[in-house]
Subunit: 428 residues, 2 copies
């Protein structure tokens, strides 16, 4: 939606355009700030100003209000696509998928919409262009709760193309809700990669003063360029400070808070690396940059379920669902347990050809079906156990293993992408 | 299974019985330790000795091995049931349910079986009897993955009876796997209580030297007797030290590690109290001891599902399950999101009379459906949101609310047992 005819004509008569410094007197209060772009979903009567404090405010303006232009700022030109050869800068591909990192708040409803393009995002952090030749493109523009396995596949193809075309890194702005699932999917699909693939999100929309979009993006770029790492990673703020970040293996990371900036956590391992100011500290070995060509394996068995066990889960309710699925990942209790009824159902499902993988809803620690009777019954039923692999990662890996391996059990129980520890003695 | 005839006759000829100090030379190695009870599931050829180091070992003994009694220790008499009036000690009911806290390791398979009774457990910590008149009874003897909602109901009745009969506290040894679910169920079912109800578990079976069964039990007893608290709580070790414990509200606690002693965590709030040595520090207000009579509300709507959302969850797969259920708790991504397909399914289910509650699989932080389009679509679909309530607690509460309230939405969104924060502004 554009501005109302009245507001349009006021702005036109002032020759005010985005980036100009405006004074608005509305309902008796004066506001001075830079005029921000008007988004499709915004109220036609609302101007958005970025105040000197850095805060953006939305002001409902009526025709009776005073609006004047204080200063006509030079507007930043959109970044030109320069050939990397010309400048000698390395090319970094930025593949936009949508999410809060590329969204803006609607000041009428307070809601956040996906809108900004990867181009806008890259352009909004001019410091990034000083470090590399940024090559942004928009693959999707969706919130991550609408990401589906087919999007992972499309993304894996696009990332592979960039890497094989010589990109120094691929940075993927992504909605945080399912970023962990996507990171795990890319880890398995891409296999060995020559350069880092870094997913980066934002818990605050990018037009908000407290947004973590820019700092996360900038940190991802620096990490990708300066460190000798060739892994699929997630990079996000790791604490209250603006200059603290953690870099997580894509298969070990989980969103553990619905709204905090430092919501992402490596589970069962420390993060691959921690960044503070410009210091980077590594906690684990990882693959180095190389000239390997990527040959992605993007096939997935999509008929796989992820189910959490709970007391009162009735085998009779879940019987059709589980028996008819090709694969099931359960997050059992504790070391990987379910009730007797469900053991029977799982046994029937496995007998019928369903692959059943057991994980733990504790999220930390490993499964171990050798300790209690229930566990041994599950082993006898043919359940596959995957040590300390996250339920979400096991779900993604099972889809991938069933489409790409002749020996699903062996593939599931072999660490491929740092997704699980080596088999070891359990102390229970 | 008892000892083999050969081993039986050796032990008989020595007049060796449990508690005696034995020397066993087996396969050329000498072992000296106290003879432990022989359990039904143990190998008939295996003696279990508790070594001076505190460790228990199982020794396979053949008839050719040397076995001698070094010392015939005086065996502890089983504690007599004394009337509390006689001794002036307060009566503490111990209601056994099973689980690792009341289990022993099978030294043949290394597996752990439920076996010890609440009586055995109480008797095994003689220091406990110094503090109170212990009144143990066994309600169930099952591992907690086999606890079902009907067990919560039976337990609530048994606890109510003890409290109304004047017990100073009720301590419930419970398997850790589903202890959080049971604690939440008791919280809602019991309502206001005159004295504390403390669930206590163990991550190491009680015949292992590293067992946390006794220390957790002892800490629960002391907390119950010495502190002015009348809540349903979970008490467990909170750190590596033997004398650190946390007391959690029953509705806020979650098992967050499959095997560590300090697996239990309060989510979204600090624990009600922390204990170190004999110091107790409270982090929240709570209900005080009183003379109120308990009138439990144990009815449950058992046709409720708990489902985690994940990318690739197809509405078509879950359609029958969700539409035919009376209630569904979803753990959505981030602030409480699911994909467009699932929004449609949820909308149909709500229209058909299913109560649908949204929580977050992040486990920390609150849901907020007012921020993104998906969220507002879910609100329009009629989804109930429950702030920062855990998915598992929301599942239990929905079962309870649907059976005990005429206004399920209102009951779900009103804090009753510390299960959720007060509604507040969300900063996203």
């Amino acid at each position: 939606m554009s501005y109302s005819p009245e507001l349009s004509s006021v702005l036109e008569s002032l020759q005010a355009s985005n980036g100009d410094l405006l004074r608005v007197i509305s309902s008796g209060r004066e506001h001075v700030g830079t005029l921000m772009p008007h988004h499709d979903f915004s109220d036609p009567d609302v101007l958005v100003l970025k105040l000197k404090s850095g805060y953006n405010i939305g002001i409902k303006v009526s025709v009776d209000d005073d609006v004047s232009v204080l200063e006509r700022a030079a507007r930043r030109e959109p970044p030109r696509r320069e050939k990397p050869a010309v400048e000698g800068r390395k090319r970094v591909a930025i593949i936009g998928t949508g999410g809060t990192i590329a969204s803006y708040a609607d000041y009428r409803t307070g809601a956040v919409h996906p809108a900004l393009s990867a181009e806008d995002l890259a352009a909004s952090v001019p410091e990034m262009a000083d470090l590399a030749y940024l090559d942004p493109k928009v693959l999707f523009s969706i919130f991550s709760e609408n990401m589906e396995p087919r999007h992972w596949q499309e993304l894996a193809v696009a990332v592979s193309k960039e890497l094989n075309d010589g990109a120094e890194a691929v940075i993927i702005p992504h909605g945080t809700d399912t970023m962990g699932y996507t990171a795990a999917a890319l880890s398995f699909m891409l296999g060995e990669i020559p350069r880092p693939v870094i997913l980066v999100g934002s818990q605050r929309s990018s037009d908000r003063p407290s947004s973590d979009a820019y700092s996360n993006l900038m940190a991802a770029l620096r990490f990708a360029l300066e460190q000798d790492v060739a892994e699929v990673c997630v990079l996000m703020h790791s604490g209250p400070s603006d200059d603290e970040f953690a870099v997580h293996f894509g298969t070990r990371v989980r969103k553990m808070h619905s709204s905090r900036r430092d919501a992402f956590r490596s589970m069962n391992v420390p993060p691959l690396a921690q960044m503070k100011d410009c210091e980077v500290e590594f906690n684990a070995p990882c693959r180095r940059k190389s000239d390997v060509k990527v040959t992605p394996s993007i096939e997935l068995q999509k008929d796989v379920l992820l189910l959490q066990y709970y007391p009162g889960m009735h085998a009779s309710q879940f019987s059709n669902l589980i028996v008819s699925a090709r694969g099931v990942v359960m997050s059992g209790t504790g070391l990987g347990h379910v009730n007797r009824d469900m053991v029977g159902l799982i046994s029937r499902a496995v007998y019928g050809g369903t692959e059943v993988v057991m994980t733990t809803q504790c999220l930390s620690g490993a499964t171990n079906l050798g300790v209690y009777d229930t566990g041994r019954d599950l082993i006898n039923a043919g359940v596959i156990t995957v040590m300390d692999m996250l339920p979400e990662t096991a779900y993604v890996k099972l889809m991938w293993a069933m489409a790409n391996s002749d020996d699903v059990r062996r593939t599931m129980t072999t660490p491929l992408q740092n997704e699980m520890g080596e088999r070891r003695e359990m102390h229970v």
